[in-house]
Symmetry: D2
C-alpha cells in the first residue's frame, strides 16, 4: 500500500524502514528536512492515492493535535488518519469527531517495540471502526511481528480503545519493573546471598518469573553487578499516571502500579520532600535529632 508517515524520529524512522522492507510505499514527513521525503504536509497528501492513509507519529499533546488539525483541512471523504503516538486516550474521541466533520476516518494505535521493533516487529493495539481499520490493515500486517497472530489486536470500536490498552500495558510494565527492582535490591543488600547476577540469569528458564524484562535485567547486571554506574533515577512518561487516573475514575484499586509510579517520583527528588515534614514533626515531639542542612 501507499501510506503517509508524519514524524520520522527514532520510532517513526524505523517504522518507515520496516514498512518499506515489506514492499510498501511510504511518503515520510518530518520537521527535520534531513529525515523527510517531502517538504510539507501538502506535498505528502498530494503524493498519496485515494483513499489516503496518513499515520501520525509525533509527540503526544499539542504536536499531535496540531498535526491532526492540519490534516483535517488537507484530507477528505474516505481518507483515514492513524494516531500511532503516545496520546492520552481521551484525546482520541476529540480527534475522531473533528476529522469526521470532514468525512475523514480515524484509528488510534498504541505501538510497543522500541529499538527492537525494526527487526522483531511492533506490537500494535488499535481502536476505531473496523471499516477505517481495514484501510490501514496492510501497514498493520507489515509492522507487527511476523509468523504469529500475536502483536496486533483490535481493542474496540470506540476511538481511544487502542491507546487505552497501550496505556494499561505501560502501567503493568511499571509494576513489573518495580517487582524485579525490589527483589534485586533485597538480594543485592543481604550478606547471605552472593552472585546475584547469576541468580537472575538462572531464573530465565523454568521459573515463574521468567520474562523479557528479566532477560534485559540480566544483561545489565552482568555488565555492572551492583549497578554502580547507574543512577537511581527514573522518569515516567505519562502512561503510568494516566493509568492511575483512569483507575481513579473507575474505582479500580491499583496499589502496585501506583506504588511503582510513586517510587519514580521520589527518585527524582533531590531531597525527600515528605520526609522533611516527618522530620519536622519528630523534632516537634522532641528527643529526635533532626538533620539540618
Amino acid at each position: 500500500m501507499e501510506i503517509g508517515l508524519i514524524g520520522l524520529g527514532k520510532m517513526g524512522g524505523n517504522m518507515r524502514e520496516r514498512l518499506r522492507r515489506a514492499g510498501h510505499t511510504v511518503v515520510g514527513f518530518d520537521r527535520d528536512p534531513a529525515l523527510a521525503d517531502v517538504g510539507s504536509l501538502e506535498e505528502l497528501v498530494a503524493k498519496l492515492p485515494s483513499p489516503r492513509v496518513v499515520w501520525v507519529m509525533v509527540p503526544a499533546g499539542d504536536p499531535t493535535r496540531s498535526t491532526i488539525g492540519e490534516l483535517k483541512e488537507l484530507l477528505g471523504e474516505g481518507d483515514v488518519v492513524v494516531d500511532g503516538g503516545n496520546s492520552k486516550y481521551t484525546d482520541d474521541a476529540v480527534n475522531a469527531a473533528s476529522l469526521a466533520e470532514n468525512g475523514i476516518g480515524y484509528v488510534d494505535c498504541g505501538v510497543s517495540g522500541g529499538v527492537w521493533g525494526l527487526e522483531n516487529g511492533y506490537a500494535l493495539m488499535y481502536g476505531g471502526s473496523a471499516e477505517h481499520a481495514a484501510k490501514v490493515m496492510p501497514a498493520f500486517e507489515a509492522l507487527k511481528p511476523a509468523d504469529t497472530s500475536d502483536g496486533l489486536v483490535h481493542c474496540g470500536s470506540t476511538p481511544g480503545a487502542g491507546h487505552f490498552a497501550k496505556m494499561v500495558h505501560n502501567g503493568i510494565e511499571y509494576a513489573m519493573m518495580q517487582s524485579y527492582a525490589e527483589g534485586w535490591e533485597l538480594l543485592d543488600k543481604v550478606d547471605i546471598v552472593e552472585n546475584v547476577p547469576e541468580i537472575f540469569a538462572s531464573w530465565r528458564t523454568g521459573t515463574v518469573v521468567r520474562s523479557w524484562l528479566l532477560d534485559l535485567l540480566v544483561d545489565q547486571l552482568r555488565e555492572d553487578e551492583h549497578l554502580d554506574k547507574i543512577r537511581g533515577y527514573a522518569e515516567d512518561s505519562g502512561e503510568g499516571r494516566w493509568t492511575v487516573e483512569a483507575a481513579l475514575d473507575n474505582a479500580v484499586p491499583l496499589p502496585a502500579i501506583s506504588a511503582s509510579l510513586f517510587a519514580r517520583f521520589v527518585s527524582r527528588q533531590e531531597d525527600d520532600v515528605a520526609m522533611k515534614a516527618i522530620s519536622a514533626m519528630r523534632n516537634g515531639f522532641g528527643g529526635h535529632a533532626v538533620k539540618k542542612d
Copy 2:
C-alpha cells in the same frame, strides 16, 4: 548417582521420576506406603552407598525439622542432606549446624517448577559449601532444565542462601501477578475496551510485558473471559511474608511486593475488617450513612 528422596507428594514424586529418567537410582520414602520404595528412613539409609546423599522434600517447618533430626542420627561423616522444601532461610543455619555435629554436610535448595517441572526441568537455587554441593551435582544436573546453563545457581556458601533466593523469587512473583491483575481489572471494567483476552494474547509477542505468567493468564482468560467462574481469593504460602520480613530487617523498601501480599490478605476476609473502623469513624463525624448488617 544413588540418592535418597524423602517426601513423594506432587513435587517429590515428579522429581523422583525425572531423576530416574536421567538414569539415577532413587530410593524414595514417604509416610504413605503406596508411594514409598522403602518402609522407613533406616531402610532408605541402609540402601544408599557412602557418601550418602538424601534429599528432603517435605513441608517446611516441623516436618522438615523432625526429618532432619532423624537423619542426623542415621547418617554420618561425609554424607549430605539437601533440604529442597520451602523452608524459611533462617532454618538452614540451624539445620546445617546440627548436622555438622555429626559430620554431615548440608545443602539448602529452593526448587521452582510446579507441575511443569517433570517435563521441562526444575529451576534450582542452592546454598552451602561447594564441597557439599559437589556430591549432589549429578542430581542437580538431572533435575534442572536441559540444554541451558539457566535453571541452576549457587547462591552463596552460607546455608540459607538458596532458600533466600527462592523466597525473593516468590516475592517478585507475587508482585508480577499483581501487576497483571491490576491491569486486567481496569481493562475488564471500562466500557471503551472490548476483547480483553485477545489484548492480553497480543501482548505475548513484541511487548515489554511478555512473560510466562502472561501466557498462563491468556490461557485462563480465553476459557473464561471475565473470570466469572473463579472466586477472587488467593492464599499466600509463606515466602511472600518472609520476603517482606527480610526486607524490614534490612531496611529495604518493598512497596509493590507488600501491596501484593496485603491484597491477598484482604481477599480472604469475609468482610473488610479495617473498613469497619473507617465506617465507624465516618459514622462518628456524622452525615455518612453506615451499612449495618
Copy 3:
C-alpha cells in the same frame, strides 16, 4: 449582613441557623419549598441589598454549575458568589471567569464541620481576591469557630485555592482514618491483647496519636467492641480521588493516601476482582486449588 444561601440540606440548613444566631439576615432557597424562605432565585436576589452576596451550597458538578449559570444572569456588577460546596478545584477558574464577564466576583470556599458545625463552627478555607472575600467576611466570621484565629484561612488569590486546600484536607483525613483502622484491625485480631476499646481510649491523653478522629473511634468502639454491627464498607466522596489526581499532575508521591483510597475501593467489591486474575494464574501454573463459585 444580608446574604443569600442556596441549598438548605443538612449542611446548608445548619449554616443558615448559625448565621442567624450571629444576627445576620439569611434569605434561603432550596428546591424543597418546605425548607426555603423564597420561591425562586429571582426572588432571593430581589430581596438582597447591593452589593449582593450569594452563597451556593448545592452538590458539586452539574447542580453547582447550573446554579452559578443562573446567578450569572440574575446578579451584576459588584455582587459576589461563594461556592461553598465540594466542587473540584478546577471548576473554580471556569466559574470565576464566567461570572467575571458580568462583573460578578467569586470566592471558592471549602467547608468542614459536618453535623458538629452548627454548635462548634465550621472550618473555612477560601480562595479568590481579597476584595471579593471582604464582602463575605461577616458571614465567614459568623460561621467559623468562635474564640480562635483558627478555622478560617485565605488559601490564595487564585480561584480554586480554597477547594484545593479542602480537598487535600480530605486526602489527609482518608489516610489518618486508615492509620487508625489498620492499627485497630491488628490489635483486635491478636490474642495477646485484650480490652482494645480501652487501649484506644487511653491514647486520648499524653500520646502522639491523640486526635479528634481518635475520640470518635473510641465512642464507637465503646458501643460495639469488635464493630460487629458495622459492615466493612466505605464510600469515597471525590476529594480523595482528586487529591491523588492532583498529585499525579504534580509528580508528588502519595503512597499512604492512595493506599487509603484503594482500600475503600476494594471494600465495595462483592468479590475481589484483581484476585480473580491472581487465582487464574495460580491455577495456570498448577498445584494451587482455585475456589470456584
Copy 4:
C-alpha cells in the same frame, strides 16, 4: 511508694522527677554515676523495702536483657520488675518466664510522652497479671496524666500485651505523620495555593484532621515555611517494623503503615537503589537515556 529505677537518661530522668514530685521515693541507678543515686544494682535493691518494685528504663535488646538477668539474681519472691523500655513484645514472655523461676513478678509497660511527659504525664500501656500490676499502681498513677482516666490502660494479662499496644501506637503514629507529610508536600508544591503554614494552622479547630501532631507541624511550619532547613531524612525506631512483622504473622493488611515505613527507608538511601534496576531495564529496552554517575 518506694521504687527502683534503672536508666536515668532523657526519659528515665524525667520519670524520676515526676515520681518524686508525686511524693514517691525513687532510688535511681545509671551507668553514668553523675546521674545515679546509687553505685550498683546491689545497692539499689538493698535500699528498697519488700516487696520491691524495680522499673527498668534502658535501651531495648541486650541492655534490657542483661539488666533483667542481673535483677533475677538480686530480687526474690514477691518482687516485681517493670520493663518500661521499647522492648519487642516477644521479649516479654521470655523475661516473665525467666523471672518467674525466682518467684519474681513481671509487668511490661509501653511509655509514651517524650520530653512533654514530665509536665503533662506519660501515657502508659501495661501488660501482665493484675496481681503484679497492683504493686506498681502508685507509680503508674503518678506517671500518668493527671485529672483524666486516659493515659493508663491494662492491655492484657499476657506479658507483652503492653509493649504490643505501644508498638501499634507507634505504627499508627508513623502513618499519621505520613498522612500530613503527603498533604503538605502537595500543598507546598502547587502554585495555586499560598500561605500553607496558615492553612495547617487553620485546621486545628473545627476540622476532621485536628490532632496533636498537627499542632506540632504548625509550630514547625511557622518557623520555616518550606522546611528548607530540615533534611528529608527520617530514622525509624523498631516499633514500626515490628508492627508490620506482627501484621504479617497475623495476615493483617497494613498498606498505609507499611508505606510510611518504606518512605523512611528510601529517605535514608543516598541514591535510590531500586531505581537503579528500573533504570537498567529501561536502558535495556532502549531509547531511554540513563543517568550515569
